[in-house]
């Protein structure tokens, strides 16, 4: 009885281990490379977005919407227009947040725990596999034409805050960015129509 349970546990452990191993299998690695190439071919983008945050401290989710701008390889701008205007700019490893007259600048090197939130999307858009794998252990769930990149932060400080970033899309278009925080809170950003 006990021996059987122990064997069951061993099988379970093997299955758990097999998950991440599978991502490193040659076929998947090639598929990831191909996806990265497709994504990296896009030099700039301008789209609308809506975002919903589910936070335990709040009674209702927070909803916001605005525009995302991307210039390859390392400039990402998130302009929130509603409910209150805010502009976040990620450029060359620095995050600056402007609300009203005030701009706050954060060096991501000084706040590595924030890196997954912004770098995950940036590196995905840039098709920068090396940057993704430096920050995350990457798992690709492929269901052509749809795909999902599950990114788990490697850095311990980041992992205490963020459990996983899930970016999914269709062919060369990113469709949603979901952030699962370690405390159970989560946010879902949905990308809408393309803007001129």
């Amino acid at each position: 009885m006990n021996a059987a349970r122990a064997r069951g546990a061993a099988w379970l452990a093997l299955l758990v281990l097999a998950g991440p191993l599978a991502a490193d299998a040659p076929a998947d690695s090639e598929r990831l490379d191909a996806l990265m190439r497709e994504l990296g071919a896009r030099r700039h983008g301008h789209v609308a977005f809506t975002e919903v945050e589910y936070l335990a401290v709040l009674d209702r989710p927070l909803e916001s919407s605005g525009e995302l701008l991307y210039e390859a390889p390392d400039r990402l701008e998130k302009r929130t227009l509603s409910p209150r205007p805010e502009t976040l700019v990620l450029a060359h490893g620095t995050l600056s947040a402007t609300r009203g007259k005030r701009t706050r600048t954060l060096d991501l090197a000084a706040y590595p725990q924030l890196a997954p939130l912004v770098e995950g999307l940036r590196a995905t858009l840039a098709g920068d596999r090396a940057a993704l794998e430096r920050l995350f252990s990457v798992r690709l769930d492929d269901d052509p034409p749809r795909w999902t990149l599950a990114l788990a932060p490697r850095d311990a400080a980041s992992a205490r805050l963020v459990r996983e970033v899930r970016i999914s899309g269709e062919q060369a278009d990113v469709k949603t960015v979901e952030v699962l925080q370690a405390d159970g809170d989560r946010s879902l950003l949905t990308i809408g129509r393309e803007l001129p």
């Binding site: 975002e51 945050e53 936070l55 401290v57 709040l58 009674d59 209702r60 989710p61 927070l62 916001s64 929130t80 409910p83 209150r84 805010e86 976040l88 995050l95 947040a97 609300r99 706050r104 600048t105 954060l106 060096d107 090197a109 000084a110 706040y111 590595p112 725990q113 924030l114 939130l117 912004v118 400080a157 805050l161 963020v162 925080q181 809170d185 946010s187």
Partner: protein, 788 residues
Amino acid sequence: MTRAGWTGTLLFALLAATAASLAVRARYTADLSAFLPRAPTVAQRLLTEELRAGFASRLLMIAIEGADAHTRSRVAADLTRRLRESPAFADVSDGDSAGLTRIEDFLLAHRYQLSDAVTPERFTAAGLHRAIGDTLGLLASPEGLLVKPLFARDPTGETLHLLDGLDAPQIASFEGVWSSRDGRRALLLAQTTALGSDTDAQEKACAAIRSAFAAAAAAFSPPGALSLRLSGPAMFAVTSRAVIRAQVMRLSTLGALLIAALLLFAYRSLPALLLTFVPVAAGALAGVAVVSLGFGVVHGITLGFGITLIGEAVDYAIYLLIQSGEEPVSEWRRTLWPTVRLGMLTSVCGFAALVPSGFQGLAQLGLYSIAGLVAAAGVTRFVLPEWRPRTLRTRDLTALGARLARLLAAPRHARTALAVLALLAGLVLIGHRGALFSRELSDLSPIPVADQELDATLRGDLGTPDARYLVVVSAPGTGGALAGAEVLSARLQTLVEAGVLGGFESPSRFLPSAATQRARQASLPAPDELAARLDQALAGMPVSASRLAPFLADVEAARTAPPLTPRELAGTPFGSALDALLTVSGTHATAFLPISAPGGADLSTAALEAVRAAVAAPALESAASARLLDLKAEADGLYAHYLTQAVSLSLAGLAAIVLLLMVACSPVRALRIVAPLGLAVLTVAAGLAAAGERLGILHVVGMLLIVAVGSNYALFFDRLAREPHDRVPRTLASLAVANLATVTGFGVLAFSSVPVLAALGRTTAPGALLALVFSALLAPRAALEVAP
């Protein structure tokens, strides 16, 4: 030995024993600030206080180099942990979140007393609605991760507002440990408990860092893979002292050895050599003893000048031993001692002029030399002849002297040539007049350029710029100083917003005045009132009042909290920040507000004017006063003041020497004695200027030494002109040997890496040689005539 000889020896032994016991018990110091002023102006007094005890003087920057970034970070974290346990350090940080967490905890606990956003308006329903709305906006952004844990206690975002206000410098980091921008060093900042002026304690602190580093490095890396670099004012003080100490030891030993070799060659007699050093040792001992009595403390650099004393005091015994030759000592005492005595007195006159100097180093040097020369001459006159064995025979230098005399008498147009030389030297000096004198205090620093560059690099990486401009508020009592700092902060803030200033620090940011704290507490509504307003404020928001119960509890606790005082801040990062910016001595408090230019450059004249106007505007508490301090300008001004003083005191010394000679000889003879010395000084000054060296205080002192030492030579030539010719060769030989000894003693100094010692050597060594040659060339012909 005669009865007088026994008496002299006994007296000498007594005095020497007294001097030795004084010298042993004397307090020795080496920090440059002790070398600084008896404070001519209030601004300069503040400057020296800041140098001595200020926060900046207690800061040590620690860099770890070598191996890989990961190892460096781990060793740095371990070193930080070790140093935090040591009582030698008030605060140690390496950029780890533990440091930030400690700050956040403190800010969170006292936010309603510390935050300038706390006003009655903010706690109305509308104000709360806006503040909480802002925080909700943040929650949705990446920074929300940092804010979220505090939301229930601090929905108005006071803690983040305070953190924003801290203006923490952006420092690069790797794995949570500060690193240099080029990523090659891990960095730490340590603040010592001891004052910056306490060089002994600073030395211990540096040693503690080194041993903690050795232990940390051994735990994580192979031996020798990592190295430690330290920098900061305290480190500079420690290094300066070590460098000065080492060089003084090495150079005086080297100088003494060279002079001993020279004298052994000249005398061919070991007893004669030993006798020669008796007056030197007596002089050095007397010098230290008298300086210790007069000043209470002996500066390391003063000891360094012991070498200068060897240069001159050694001459007395040389004169006695070579000049007296075979004849009885009583004859030397009668004929030549008066000349030596007059020479000694002229030197004393010269050095006496330095004693009233406000520059403690100069004053000590003056007193040291006077005591040393009087003692050395006294021992030569009263003790040495008695100790001299009857059988003592030194080498006969008559032939050498005769040859020298003929050589020096040979040039026919010497006077014309010297006149041309004087003209040329004058022209060179006029040509360099704009850049003749050094203007920067830093020129005195013995710190190698490489170390100064490392310091600048580390400061750049750590964002701890050398504060150049300070607004200083003085008031009776901490409260007054903080209130004054608050008023000025508001004015400086408008200048920052106008782009005139880059930023500023103020102690009131870390500890608001009691009145301000009370006003903020009075802005907080009572519990029922706050609950009602909160309900109103949250209408339509995605959060309900029930989740914000911790907020209501915190506000109520803050409303009735006692005001924060420096005591509550002690031991927190805010406490050390406050210590840095607020000093209290007795009932008097001084607040320092360092200001910086936009972009970190120097402030423009217009910006300085704007700050001055802001500082001068009234409405400070009546007893408080404020001023703007430009540390670099004040330091350089201070230096210029001492340089001017050194020049005028030296000129006064020169005047005293001329006056003494006029009284002792005659005006014409006095002029003839002084002329070659003046020419030597002129030539050396022109030579240094032509070589691109800027003249500083120690060059000026060196010139005074040229006159002091050279006057002996000139006096002998004056004397020789009225002596039997058979004395000429032997006297000339003694002058040559004495001169060589002097040139050797000072020549060794010229190679020192300590600027003050090098300046002295480079001036006096060539100057003494020139003084002898010029004195001979300008001497009456009779002085160089040799009996056939």
